[in-house]
Subunit: 260 residues, 2 copies
Amino acid sequence: MSIMSSQPVFALDLQSLIRAKSVASAASASDQRPKVSTKDRILNATEALFIARGFDGTSLRAITTDAAVNLAAVNYHFGSKEELFSLVLTRRIDVLNAERLRRLDALETVGLDGVHGLEQIIATLFLPALALARDTAQGGEDFLRLLGRAYADPAPFVRSLLAERYASTNARFKAAFARALPDLANEDLSMRLHFILDSVAASLAADDVRRQLKGLKINARANDEDDLQFLAYLAPFLAAALRAAVRQPKQIAALKALAA
Amino acid sequence: MSIMSSQPVFALDLQSLIRAKSVASAASASDQRPKVSTKDRILNATEALFIARGFDGTSLRAITTDAAVNLAAVNYHFGSKEELFSLVLTRRIDVLNAERLRRLDALETVGLDGVHGLEQIIATLFLPALALARDTAQGGEDFLRLLGRAYADPAPFVRSLLAERYASTNARFKAAFARALPDLANEDLSMRLHFILDSVAASLAADDVRRQLKGLKINARANDEDDLQFLAYLAPFLAAALRAAVRQPKQIAALKALAA
DNA sequence: CATCGATTCAATCGATTGATTCAAACAGAT
DNA sequence: ATCTGTTTGAATCAATCGATTGAATCGATG
């Protein structure tokens, strides 16, 4: 303590003292400074702030303050704010989409189940997301929040990044849904699919929805079995929505009588 | 033209010339400057920019440039950026919620239909939105975009504004849904309701979804009859989703076999 | 220990943000 | 036409934005 006083000391001596101290603490049992690299601290802080405030609402100064690094470290390690956020988004979503495509490939080589083909595709879409939400190395629960925020962010940079990078994946799944729902017109399918994908993303981004998930104890999932249980909760909801018939004259007449 | 040259002129003369010119054009047949007040021009420009870029992404200078008014006019007429956006949001959503509550009141005095009670509530929620989307005085199609963007905006100011101002309305509709779905657990209802409301908002905010709506010619609605037709397209989708059973052991087993 | 590339640091850049100023111009009442 | 309160305009404020600089310091290598 007294060594660290403000009295003038030899700069070299002071630095060597600090260096020795940090090395000592790293070797100690408590390990007060967890060995997380500057790059990773910036990425993690950026992810947390993006979830809470979006792209425009997150400044580099807020990031570097939370990450306890120098402001210039962002441009040194990542080049620019956009390149940083691009990495933050893709390091999560790329993993998700790769697993989704892997499962879809496997599913299409075996062929869709005639009766439950729709549930199979839904499972292919959502099980990877649920699995990643349990993987702390992939952000855990924050993974779902990141996903929701990313698809809702109004910044042109974010929207173009998602649209361009995952266009082919979306096309693959739309084609799969089209085969499972042969009677649904292409335009109807596009709308309902987009509706569902945006829906899940938006809902998962909302804090109170996740709080309710926790209340249902379906957020304490610990293994794939629990994921299936959660999907059994969600899949009928989504499958029923996708299978619902469209624009039957009878329904119009019924609604007309009811909505007066 | 030559009068407007950069040569020194009497300030008063120049101003009077400009004034005379604008007055003349206002009296002319073409009427190049539509008599929209400064206040309304700011509100309209703010709405358009909020839809496109969100709260954080919209600067007062972008607003005043689009509205062709002076920068100081914003703070003079509205006090601050937040007060301006608060007005922009509430002038639309207040109308929507008032009409929703009016219809809900009427529905509850008559009593819910036993068979189609759920569709009645859904109609109560969505018909006012569809009607407003046809009313150019209420923003027309932009009304839906505003709604979607508002519920997705990450700015704390926007989120707290919506949560506080419309909490009671949401509670009213949740209670109504609970009566129409007596077998659905309260937590399940909360989640699904939030899921649906966020869903519609998020979907309507997406440009390509509205483009698909246009392709289905359900966006060319001109009267209440057409609204009912559109609702006949959407209501079965939503009702089926809400009515879908939850967590049946049979479905879990089926999914387990399928998701391998 | 000396050297060198990699990294961190404080300081600062020009641009943009929301907000404010005060004089000029305005519309309506008398 | 004159007066009076309201509205507009150009200029500018301090604060913050993303980005950059060059020196200081780091860890690894010879």
